[in-house]
Amino acid sequence: MSDTVSETQYLEFLDALLAGDRIRCTRTVQELMAGGVGLRMLYVQVFQRAMYRVGELWEQQRISVAVEHLATAIVERMLALVQAQVFTGPYRERKAIIACVADEYHQLGGRMVADFFELHGWRGYFLGANTPLPDLMRLIDERQPDMLGLSLSIYFNLPALLRALDAVTTAYSKLPILVGGQALRWGGQKAIEPYPNVTCVASMDDLERIIVQ
């Protein structure tokens, strides 16, 4: 029993993922968990690492959009496979809302972040892809979270993110906001700097440091 993922195990998962073989992916995940790999390790060393690689291959035009979409759907299925364990444990008092901004359809990263909050003893509400701003505002009002996370995968959706930040920081000036996602690799941090209480999160390690504070 060991909470580590070997290179062979990771490559086996990636190979199955690129082949669109959900059965083999499921088997690999089940074997990893039976071998003592914890959820955090599974999320970071398998799911996140594999999806970053899938993204690179797509950007390099070595795999098609269809392969990338199928890989995403399979990883979402893997998250569903383990999600019962994500929510176990005692009652959570602190709450975080995680959402993808309007027109943002890449929800996998945001969902993993919401699960990460759960793994660290928070209630992580995930609002899903393409959350319209009025819905986001209504849910913040209803659930009164201790933190808000906004995910941005496509750089061209930056204006939607800024609109959301304008609205949320005006209505809830003290609410800490995290912004993360692959789009921020291409810039955007400068546009976020003027907002008070908004932190750019570059990695899951960064996220963990903030969550446990």
Binding site: L79, Q83, P90, Y91, R92, Y105, R111, E118, Y125, G128
Partner: protein, 378 residues
């Protein structure tokens, strides 16, 4: 490029259509037999195609349809449902061009339609995945809140037990010591205090039991217990109430099972609950029967009354905690419906089953069975 040179030479176009393009190209003879299929047509259908009837590759739900319709030229592409290698039918938009003794069939998937489908499937998959997460999360929240509720219930019941016990004890002392000095009206008030405290202690005990059961902490302290003694003790608990209303209790036990390997006080609690319910729901002057039977499959003990009975709907809700909150006993007091739920859990913890048979206006029979492992035939 000269004027006579075509923009795309015919041979290059033909070769592309036959070998590379994602377009189904067939040459179909006038008798409906496919005489040529391009690479994509074969890969798309997973069939050899050449030599097959054109209709063999179609999904046709209307056998009466004129097969020649697939050969007639039309001004706009016509929808044709085709079998595919993936096992899922696909709609091709087909253009038919007649040539000498045959016709050429060009079939294409509508790219725009596919794009719309892909987007919608993606969104639906997101929504379904999101809903599934919410469902699991809400389940976890409910489980956690239920655990908190049980913890609170257990703490509250534990803290209330002692003061309630003191009220009961002092009320009993006063009833004994001051019986000669207090006027009858005050004695009656004192008796009401004692009776209310007694009922409250019973409720608190039920709450404690429920909090333990819900927390999965119901433990059995098993040992040999005398069957007749269990019945006598339970009967003693209800004798007073039965006497008050002139209800007789008849006992008929099977002599085969004199001792049981059970948690005696808990089985006694079960029987007391059944017996007390039977007395409460019996008409004045009625009769309640206690019986037992030893069978190869185990030991059965039951309590029968001739009260108002229960409808099928009432029977369905009997063993749910707090399901009886709207019930009123014949004496007018409210029942919170925990007793039977606790009894059921205790019996199940012994490996047995608690059952009810009831007919409205005729009465009810509540009984439980215990497995052979709980038996000692002496």
């Amino acid at each position: 490029m000269t004027l006579s040179e075509p923009l795309i030479p015919a041979e290059i176009g033909r070769q592309f259509l036959c070998e590379c393009a994602n377009v189904v190209v067939l040459r179909v003879d006038n008798d409906g037999v496919i005489s040529f299929a391009n690479r994509y047509a074969k890969a798309f259908t997973g069939l050899t195609l050449e030599g097959c009837q054109l209709t063999d590759m179609m999904v046709n739900f209307e056998p009466e349809t004129d097969p020649d319709q697939w050969r007639r030229p039309s001004d706009t592409p016509r929808m044709v449902n085709v079998r595919t290698v993936a096992g899922l039918p696909q709609t091709l938009y087909v253009t038919v061009i007649p040539v000498l003794n045959a016709f050429i069939w060009f079939g294409q998937v509508d790219g725009e339609e596919q794009e719309r489908l892909r987007r919608e499937v993606l969104v639906l998959n997101h929504e379904s995945s999101q809903m599934s997460r919410e469902l699991v999360q809400k389940n976890a929240e409910l489980t956690q809140l239920n655990a908190l509720k049980n913890q609170f219930l257990g703490m509250a019941a534990h803290d209330l037990r002692k003061p309630t016990g003191l009220i009961l004890t002092y009320a009993e002392f006063l009833l004994e010591d001051a019986a000669d000095v207090l006027p009858a009206e005050q004695l009656q008030q004192l008796e009401r205090i004692r009776s209310a405290a007694d009922r409250m202690r019973g409720l608190i005990d039920d709450f404690l039991d429920v909090s333990l059961i819900e927390a999965g902490k119901l433990s059995l302290n098993t040992g040999w217990a005398d069957t007749a003694q269990i019945v006598d003790n339970a009967r003693m608990m209800v004798d007073r109430a039965a006497d008050k209303r002139n209800i007789s209790i008849r006992v008929s036990l099977d002599s085969g099972a004199k001792r049981l390997w059970v948690d005696g006080p808990k089985i006694e609690q079960v029987l007391t609950n059944l017996l007390s319910n039977a007395v409460e729901h019996s008409p004045d002057g009625g009769q309640v029967s206690i019986g037992s039977r030893l069978e190869p499959t185990g030991f059965g003990l039951w309590v029968e009354d001739h009260g108002p009975g229960l409808s099928a709907e009432q029977q369905n809700r009997l063993f749910q905690a707090f399901a009886g909150q709207t019930n009123r006993k014949p004496g007018g007091e409210r029942s919170i419906g925990l007793g039977l739920m606790i009894a059921k859990k205790i019996v199940e913890a012994h490996g047995g089953q608690l059952q009810v048979e009831s007919t409205p206006e005729k009465g009810s029979l509540f009984g439980f069975t215990l497995p052979p492992t709980c038996l000692a035939v002496v």
